[in-house]
């Protein structure tokens, strides 16, 4: 490095950043999704594109390859490409005779003049072969196989077969292939989100026919936006009931796009929009009755829940689910709303409710994390507080009910976990609180602490 700097003082040194390289390659793989859904990463510097059945969309194999190369060149990449009927041959062609198309069945002729490294073999094997004067792939293509295998291992022969297309080689695509997708190439880049929404509708109309033929509805949909400069945005919308109506899909994406409107950077516009069905499930056809009310009552609610979900992302509409636990904060769990579960849950819950006597008093609002309370005075050590300070304000206790002792769940927590004594407390102004004291006086180390856990009506 010092020598190089001495020779060229203006030399700029940039440290290798494999992480950034990998990131860039992933971005490129994203971009290549426009050609085929089957894109796989190959080491640190290559991409495999399985273009089976895709080439005719771009005017044939050669034109497609030219298209890839020219677009990458315009983006500032020096890319090489090779096209063959098997990954091994394509790999060799891309690296040593780019750009070239190896016709099916002519792999041996194409590979023969290439050096040994075109076969993707380990360096020590290559060194071994070169030491006996074998420098090109052609030198070992027709050599007797048994001595080669004995000398250099079975790996060499596998690579050889893969390069010639005699052995099957699978590439592992980076993303799962959606069962259905529709796309639209745009001559003029699209800048407005409204236009994207309209396009999503058009694509959904196309998808609807396919979904109808399969008798399915979409559970998860993905809208991929390919920007002119190569960036790819993907937006996923999940639904609680299978959908296939274009209008419904459009409205779901409207909320999704509205939620990300601030962060979406249209730049110079999008040139390719693709709508894919990520997950599909059987679509139950329900016949409407003559009054038009036969459709499931859940439908409106499910659609509402989906749109909230699309808008908020993550957990939108939540529903509490009772859990078998006597610890107050564990007795209920918030789960995202799904329509199918609801009916099931209702049956389960309604059956015994008539006979069960009402449980102990519980607050209507609970704090997710109990808040520490400073108790100024308690009448007796184990008794309720007379005054307490919560959120820097003083409260004077007028009346108290309790304690209700709630022990920890011994099967979950260590045995010496402290118990809680809950008190219903009413302050001088009539507000009712749920306080608890953690621990007992004189039982463990340290003083028991007080917490505010909930508010009554």
């Amino acid at each position: 490095m010092a020598d190089a700097r001495a020779m060229h003082p203006s030399l700029e040194v940039v440290e290798a950043d494999p992480e950034a390289d990998r990131h860039l390659l992933t971005g490129l793989a994203d971009w290549c999704d426009r050609y085929t859904p089957l894109v796989a990463l190959d080491g640190a510097d290559g991409l495999f594109l399985d273009i089976t059945g895709c080439a005719h969309l771009f005017g044939g194999e050669e034109k497609m390859m030219q298209d890839v190369l020219s677009r990458l060149l315009r983006q500032g990449f020096d890319a090489r490409a090779g096209l063959a009927s098997c990954p091994g041959a394509a790999w060799a062609a891309a690296r040593f005779s780019s750009p070239s198309v190896i016709p099916s069945g002519r792999e041996a002729d194409a590979i023969a003049p290439l050096p040994l490294s075109a076969l993707r073999i380990d360096t020590d094997i290559r060194a071994g072969l070169e030491s006996v004067g074998l420098y090109t792939a052609g030198a070992i293509l027709d050599a007797p196989r048994a001595p080669l295998a004995r000398r250099f291992g079975a790996g060499l022969l596998t690579r050889l077969d893969q390069a010639l297309g005699r052995a099957e080689e699978a590439i592992s695509p980076r993303l799962p292939v959606p069962p259905l997708s529709a796309e639209r190439q745009l001559a003029e880049p699209m800048v407005s989100t409204d236009g994207i929404e309209v396009l999503a509708h058009t694509l959904a109309v196309t998808l609807k026919q396919d979904l109808e033929r399969r008798g399915e509805g979409a559970d998860a949909l993905q809208l991929s936006l390919f920007r002119v400069d190569g960036a790819v945005h993907r937006y996923v919308v999940r639904t609680s009931l299978p959908v296939r109506e274009p209008a419904v899909i459009r409205r779901l994406f409207r909320e999704r796009l509205a939620a990300v409107e601030d962060e979406i950077d249209t730049g110079y516009g999008f040139e390719l929009v693709r709508l894919s069905v990520l997950e599909a499930s059987p679509f139950a056809l329900v016949q409407a009755d003559l009054a038009g009310e036969g459709a499931s009552e859940e439908e409106g609610l499910a659609f509402f829940a989906d749109r909230v979900q699309a808008r908020l992302g993550g957990n939108g509409l939540m529903r509490p689910v009772p859990v078998e636990s006597h610890i107050p904060e564990r007795a209920v769990r918030m789960v995202p709303f799904t329509a199918s579960e609801k009916a099931l849950l209702r049956e389960k819950e309604e059956a015994p409710s008539a006979q069960v006597p009402p449980g102990p008093e519980r607050p209507i609002r609970l704090f997710a994390n109990p808040e520490p309370v400073e108790v100024i005075a308690a009448e007796v050590p184990e008794g309720p507080p007379l005054h307490f300070r919560w959120r820097r304000a003083m409260y004077h206790v007028a009346r108290v009910e309790g304690p209700e002792r709630i022990a920890p769940e011994w099967w979950r927590t260590p045995e010496d976990a402290s118990t809680r004594d809950y008190f219903r407390v009413e302050d001088a102004e009539g507000r009712r609180y749920w306080l608890y004291r953690q621990g007992l006086y004189g039982a463990g180390e340290g003083m028991p602490r007080w917490f505010m856990h909930g508010i009554f009506a």
Partner: protein, 330 residues
């Protein structure tokens, strides 16, 4: 005579038009019968006309003051003076929802309650706790839908969408403070949605002061000391009975202002008017001038969002002690 009938018809049509523009209930303005509703004094006459438009709370005093009850198809504001009163305000809204659920006009539908809150208020005042809601308001877990929105705009949007649906008995929207976005337009939109569906939207506002909104009715709700539990041998000393609310009518198109203390009975799901035994002296609200509710927005733990701090973190004019000059002798 014929001319008189035509005039009546014109007046009737105009009245309906006014009702439509103002967004109030036409029944209120156009009572059945040909006589002028202004001349028909007495609450009972009004109540007969508008029986379907109001939800009777069951507390006779409050119902009479509101000329029938809480409007069904309207936005109703429920104010709590501080965030710690959010339990009482939300409790009152849920109690009203529970009354709606109990009616069961259409048993399959309209059973669920949609509760939308902004994330900051949910953090400060606690999230809805299903076992308590089931016990106090008879609201089973599967009938509650809860949504904590990070942004106020999202919360308003969800509330609007929810109030369009037929599946809910009531929509409860809970917002903290007096955000600028919750203006006349936003509340009017909610009010219109409620009118279209004939189902109330309760706007619970914690730690906020009253400001002009499109809601026809506004309540100021805070907790009232509960009546002791009653046993066979009389009241149980120092026990905390059913939840009690102090409800003050802050705004209503018809009502006289007033303050009522209501008790909610969780066993029969009904309101009763009580005279609080433990409370401070109850001063009847003056009838000849509007009732002034206690200044809202007093927050204990947190500074109110809209109160701009004095420049440079200096104490404001009110807080800064006066510095009297040296007293001049003689």
């Amino acid at each position: 005579m014929a001319r008189n009938a035509t005039a009546q018809k014109t007046i009737y049509a105009l009245r309906r038009e006014i009702a439509r523009i103002e967004g109030v209930l036409p029944e209120r303005l156009a009572a059945p019968g040909e006589e002028d509703p202004v001349l028909r004094r007495g609450v009972s006459a009004m109540r007969g006309a508008a029986a379907g438009a109001f939800l009777e709370t069951g507390a006779a005093g409050l119902d009479n003051a509101l000329a029938g009850g809480v409007p069904r198809g309207a936005l109703t504001e429920i104010h709590a003076p501080a965030a710690r009163d959010a339990g009482a305000a939300a409790g009152f809204a849920l109690a009203l929802s529970s009354l709606l659920r109990k009616e069961g006009r259409r048993p399959e539908k309209r059973r669920a309650v949609c509760w939308i809150g902004t994330a900051d208020l949910v953090r400060e005042a606690g999230f809805p706790y299903a076992p308590g809601l089931k016990r106090v308001f008879g609201l089973p877990a599967h009938d509650l839908l809860f949504c904590a929105a990070g942004k106020l705009a999202d919360a308003l949007w969800i509330a609007e969408e929810a109030s369009r649906l037929d599946d809910f008995a009531a929509v409860v929207l809970e917002i903290r403070g007096n955000p600028a976005r919750l203006d006349l337009t936003a509340t009017r939109r909610l009010n219109r949605r409620a009118q279209e569906r004939g189902r109330p939207v309760f706007l619970v506002r914690a730690a906020s002061f009253a400001e002009p909104t499109a809601a026809p009715v506004r309540f100021h709700v805070s907790s009232a000391p509960a009546v002791p539990r009653s046993t066979l041998s009389g009241a149980l000393e120092d026990s905390i009975g059913h939840p009690a609310f102090t409800v003050a009518i802050g705004k209503s198109p018809t009502s006289l202002p007033g303050e009522f203390v209501l008790e909610w009975n969780p066993d029969v799901l009904a309101f009763y008017e009580i005279r609080p035994a433990y409370s401070r002296a109850l001063v009847p609200a003056p009838a000849h001038r509007p009732h002034l509710p206690a200044a809202g927005g007093t927050v204990v733990a947190l500074r109110r969002a809209d109160a701009a701090p004095a420049p440079g973190d200096q104490p404001s004019r009110e807080e800064r002690p006066a510095h009297p000059g040296p007293r001049r002798a003689g």
